[in-house]
């Protein structure tokens, strides 16, 4: 599966939202992306890309777009 699809799937499945909402999506924009949802999203991404995110990156992961930059550091070009 292409990285963009893996990345989008982590969001749509964790927060149960449509892919069309993703480009503008920020932390706490939807009810699913609350503090608990954030941890679920981080776990889904770690599993999907077989990586382990650092605490600083988890804190910086404040939007869909920002997340793409962060995953680049782990070798996952989105």
């Amino acid at each position: 599966m292409p990285n963009i699809d893996k990345y989008n799937k982590a969001f749509t499945e964790t927060f149960m939202i449509d892919e069309s909402k993703l480009p503008e999506l920020k932390y706490q924009d939807v009810s699913g992306w609350d503090s608990i949802g954030h941890m679920q999203l981080m776990s889904s991404l770690e599993e999907a890309f077989d990586i382990e995110l650092d605490i600083d990156d988890i804190i910086d992961f404040s939007s869909y777009e920002k997340g793409k930059e962060i995953l680049k550091k782990y070798g996952a070009e989105i």
Binding site: Y27, Q28, D34, S35, I36, M42, I55, I58, I59, S62
Partner: protein, 168 residues
């Protein structure tokens, strides 16, 4: 108390209260007979008729309410990580309780033996399960997801540090 290999702990009531914040009338584990930090724990809860809830549940047929059985399970379960120095004394909140099963009525004079396993603990979120027995007969069982807010809140974006929307 620690055994010779340094891995198995046990706690009396005072030791339990050093590890977790639940107190009378909502402390529902009397003794931890075996705790392997970060892995598993065994505990007991003895029920006498002097428990505050028996006269109310029910006056003609005293038995342990379901929500209290769940507290027995989870309070034993959280000892699997609250016995570790880095988590000792921290508060915990429920995220979810799944697959709860009640298989047996528990009445005054009986003792509940609880066995709990910590399946994972990451970023302040602990997942695990517990089952319990009375005289060897299955009583209640459940799966839990619990947070340690002090730890969990360190991972929130933009320093939004309160667990304002998850767990009680």
């Amino acid at each position: 108390m620690m055994d010779e290999n340094g891995e198995t702990l046990s706690f009396n009531l005072m030791g339990i209260q050093e590890c977790q914040r639940n107190r009378y009338p909502l402390l529902f584990v009397d003794q931890i007979t075996e705790a392997i930090p970060g892995k598993s724990v065994r505990g007991i809860k003895c029920f006498s008729y002097n428990e505050w809830f028996f006269p109310a549940h029910f006056d003609d047929e005293p038995n342990v309410p379901g929500f209290i059985q769940i507290e027995c399970l989870v309070q034993t379960f959280i000892m699997s990580f609250l016995c570790m120095e880095e988590y000792k004394g921290k508060k915990t909140n429920f995220i979810s309780i799944n697959n709860v099963k009640f298989k047996r009525k528990i009445v005054p004079g009986e003792t509940l033996d609880v066995e709990a396993t910590l399946d994972s603990l990451k970023r302040g979120i602990a997942k695990g399960h517990a089952e319990s027995f009375v005289n060897g007969e299955p009583a209640c069982s459940a799966e839990f997801v619990v947070t340690i807010p002090d730890v969990f809140s360190r991972f929130m974006p933009n320093n939004t540090s309160q667990v304002k929307d998850g767990g009680r």
